[in-house]
C-alpha cells in the first residue's frame, strides 16, 4: 500500500486516491492543423517507463484536487510531489521531464509555442 502525501491534506493511504496516468500531456491547440498521427500521440501514446515516471493523481476521497507525482515504477518510491501547472524541481524528476519523448511531439510544441521558440527553455 502506498502512502501518498496529498499537498493539501497530508499523508493518506492510496485507496483515497485515483491515478490519472501520465502528467504533462498537452492537448494540441492547433487542433485542425495537426495530423492524425500527431493527434494519436496526444490521445493514445503514453510514456511507460521502467523507472521514474511523472504522473497525475487525484485525492478523490479527500479534497478531490489533482496534483503531480514523480514515482519510480520499479521500487514505488515517490521522489517528488508537486502542484498542477508546475514542473518538478528534484534533479531526477527534472531529468525525466526533459528526456521524455513527449517534449518533441507536435502537440507539445503546438500547445506551448513559446517554449519551442525559446529553444527549449526547460
Amino acid at each position: 500500500m502506498l502512502i501518498i502525501t496529498c499537498p493539501f491534506c497530508g499523508p493518506r493511504d492510496e485507496v483515497e486516491f485515483a491515478c490519472g496516468g501520465e502528467a504533462h500531456v498537452a492537448r494540441p491547440l492547433a487542433d485542425n492543423k495537426i495530423s492524425d498521427a500527431d493527434f494519436a500521440d496526444y490521445l493514445f501514446m503514453r510514456d511507460n517507463p521502467k523507472g521514474l515516471f511523472l504522473e497525475r493523481w487525484r485525492h478523490s476521497a479527500g479534497c478531490r484536487r489533482w496534483f503531480n507525482v514523480a514515482r519510480d515504477t520499479v521500487s514505488n518510491e515517490i521522489v517528488e510531489i508537486y502542484l498542477m501547472g508546475s514542473l518538478p524541481v528534484k534533479t531526477a524528476a527534472k531529468t525525466t521531464y526533459k528526456t521524455s519523448w513527449r517534449r518533441d511531439t507536435a502537440a507539445e510544441k503546438a500547445a506551448t509555442p513559446s517554449r519551442s521558440k525559446a529553444g527549449g527553455s526547460k
Binding site: M1, L2, E14, V15, A18, C19, G21, D36, A37, A40, D41, L43, F44, M45, R46, N48, P49, K50, F53, E55, R71, T73, V74, S75, N76, W101
Partner: protein
C-alpha cells in the same frame, strides 16, 4: 503441413517426439529421478538467425513453434532474459474462453480456442486443457440485459454461449450463494461450455519442447539490451550474451513491450500494470467450473491440486514491480466470500503479481512497425493466456510473410491513428 487448414486446429503438425513412458517412470524411480534427459537443449546463441523472437513466454514460444512447424523457418531463436514461462505465463489464472463481443475479437479468440482443442495432440504434451465451462455472472438488471445482447452477438459468430438464470446457476454451481439479499446478488449469468482452463506451465514446456525438436534455439538467461538498426531496417539484437545478427525480430515481451519498443525509438499506447492472483490451501473439490464476475472484479476456479485460484482486477497505476497493491486482492476476496461463503475460513497460500501490457481499447497489437523487420505482438493486457496459441499462430504468419493475415490485420498499431479501435472494455463481459 500446408494441407492443414489453419482454422481446423493443427493436428498432424510435428510435435515433440515421444520419450516418456510408465516403464521409464518406474525405472527412473530407482535412482530418485536424477537422470531425466533435458526436455529441450540449452544452446549457445549462434552468430546469426533468420528470425529472433524476444520473450520466452507462451506467446513467444508458440510463435517460434508455428514459425518452424507451419512456415518451415527453423533457423530461429527465442531469447528470454529469465527462464521460459517465468513471467506472466506462469502467473496467470489459466482461464480460456472465446466469448467476445466484436467480430475481430471473436475471430482471434475462437481461432485460439480451436488450437487449444487440438494442442495436446499437436505438441504431444499434455497441457491439461479442461473444457469445464466459464460462467460470467451478472449482478444487476442492466448487466443482465447487456449480457443477453452480447450472448446473441457471440452466437451469431458461431461461438457457443448461453444465458442461465439464478436457479440454473445454483444447479450448475451448488456452492454459490444466490441469496438476493447480498450486496451484489446473482441475477443471472452467461456460460461458455467450451471454455475452461489449462496447465499454464505445460503450455510453455510443450511449445518449447516441440519447437526445440524442430531445431529452434531456446536461449534462456539472455537479456536484450538493444536493437541494432541500419536506417529503417533491423539488422540484429544486442544481448547480454553478445550481438545476434538477424533480419527479423518479433517482440513478445508483454509488460516490457514499451521498454523494448523504446530501444527502437517506437512509442506504444501501452500502460504496464500489475495484475494480481492468489491461491488458497488445497481443499476437496467444490468447484468444477470457472466463475467470473465483472462487477465485483473477481474470478475463481479450482486447480487439480485442490487450490482455489483467484484473480483480481488490474491495479490502478503503472508498475514494473511484479507485486501489486493490497487493496485490490482485499476487495476481490470480499466479493469472493460473499459469493462463496464456504471460502470464508480458507487460508491463502501464495499471492503474486504479473506485469500486464494494457491497451487503451483492451485489445492486443499484432503489428508491423515503421522499422523493416521489427514486429510486435503485445497489448494482451489481462487476458493473454487464453490467446496463446492463436496469437503465436497469426504472429508467426505475420513474421514469415511480412504481412498480417485476415485475423491479425485489425490489430495493427495503425488503428490508433485511424481510430478503428476494437473496444473490448467490458464488452467481453469480464474484468480486463
Amino acid at each position: 503441413m500446408a494441407q492443414n487448414h489453419p482454422d481446423r486446429g493443427q493436428r498432424g503438425l510435428p510435435g515433440g517426439t515421444p520419450r516418456y513412458s510408465a516403464f521409464a517412470l518406474a525405472k527412473k524411480a530407482m535412482n530418485y529421478h536424477q537422470d531425466w534427459q533435458r526436455a529441450w537443449r540449452d544452446p549457445e546463441p549462434k552468430a546469426e538467425y533468420d528470425a529472433v523472437i524476444i520473450g520466452g513466454g507462451g506467446h513467444g514460444l508458440a510463435t517460434a513453434y508455428y514459425l518452424a512447424a507451419v512456415h518451415g523457418l527453423t533457423n530461429i531463436a527465442v531469447i528470454e532474459k529469465g527462464w521460459i514461462g517465468g513471467g506472466n505465463t506462469g502467473r496467470n489464472t489459466t482461464i480460456i474462453r472465446s466469448n467476445y463481443l466484436w467480430d475481430e475479437s471473436a475471430a482471434i479468440y475462437e481461432h485460439s480456442m480451436k488450437l487449444w482443442e487440438g494442442m495436446s495432440q499437436d505438441l504431444n504434451f499434455n497441457v491439461m486443457f479442461s473444457q469445464r465451462g466459464v460462467l460470467t455472472i451478472a449482478h444487476s438488471e442492466h448487466e443482465l440485459r447487456e449480457m443477453s445482447r452480447r450472448v446473441h452477438a457471440i452466437r451469431l459468430n458461431g461461438i457457443d454461449s448461453e444465458i442461465l438464470g439464478p436457479a440454473e446457476i445454483k444447479k450448475f454451481v451448488p456452492t454459490i450463494n444466490i441469496d438476493q439479499s447480498i450486496r451484489y446478488p446473482v441475477m443471472g449469468g452467461f456460460l461458455q461450455r467450451r471454455g475452461g482452463t489449462a496447465r499454464h506451465d505445460a503450455v510453455a514446456w510443450g511449445y518449447a519442447r516441440a519447437a526445440d525438436d524442430l531445431g529452434v534455439d531456446i536461449i534462456q538467461k539472455c537479456e536484450v539490451t538493444g536493437l541494432r538498426r541500419q536506417g529503417r531496417k533491423i539488422i540484429g539484437v544486442e544481448t547480454s550474451r553478445g550481438f545476434i545478427k538477424t533480419k527479423k525480430v518479433g517482440c513478445v515481451v508483454a509488460g516490457h513491450s514499451s521498454v523494448v519498443a523504446a530501444m527502437a525509438g517506437i512509442r506504444l499506447p501501452i500502460a504496464s500494470r500489475p495484475l494480481q492472483a492468489l491461491v488458497s490451501e488445497p481443499i476437496k473439490p467444490i468447484l468444477d467450473t470457472v466463475i467470473m464476475s465483472n462487477a465485483v472484479h473477481m474470478y475463481i476456479s479450482q486447480s487439480d491440486k485442490g487450490e482455489m485460484v483467484l484473480g483480481a482486477g488490474v491495479d490502478k497505476y503503472n508498475s514494473y514491480a511484479q507485486r501489486g497493491s493490497f487493496p485490490v486482492p482485499e476487495h476481490m476476496l470480499a466479493a469472493a466470500v460473499e459469493l462463496f461463503p464456504v471460502l470464508s475460513r480458507l487460508r491463502m497460500l501464495r499471492h503474486w503479481g504479473g506485469i500486464v501490457d494494457t491497451c487503451p481499447d483492451a485489445s492486443p497489437i499484432i503489428s508491423k512497425t515503421d522499422i523493416e523487420g521489427l514486429y510486435f505482438d503485445c497489448g494482451w493486457g489481462t487476458g493473454g493466456f487464453k490467446a496463446t496459441p492463436g496469437s503465436g499462430h497469426v504472429f508467426a504468419d505475420l513474421i514469415a510473410n511480412d504481412r498480417p493475415n485476415k485475423i491479425a490485420a485489425p490489430y495493427s498499431l495503425d488503428r490508433f491513428r485511424t481510430g478503428l479501435l476494437i473496444d473490448e472494455h467490458g464488452a467481453a463481459g469480464v474484468a480486463h
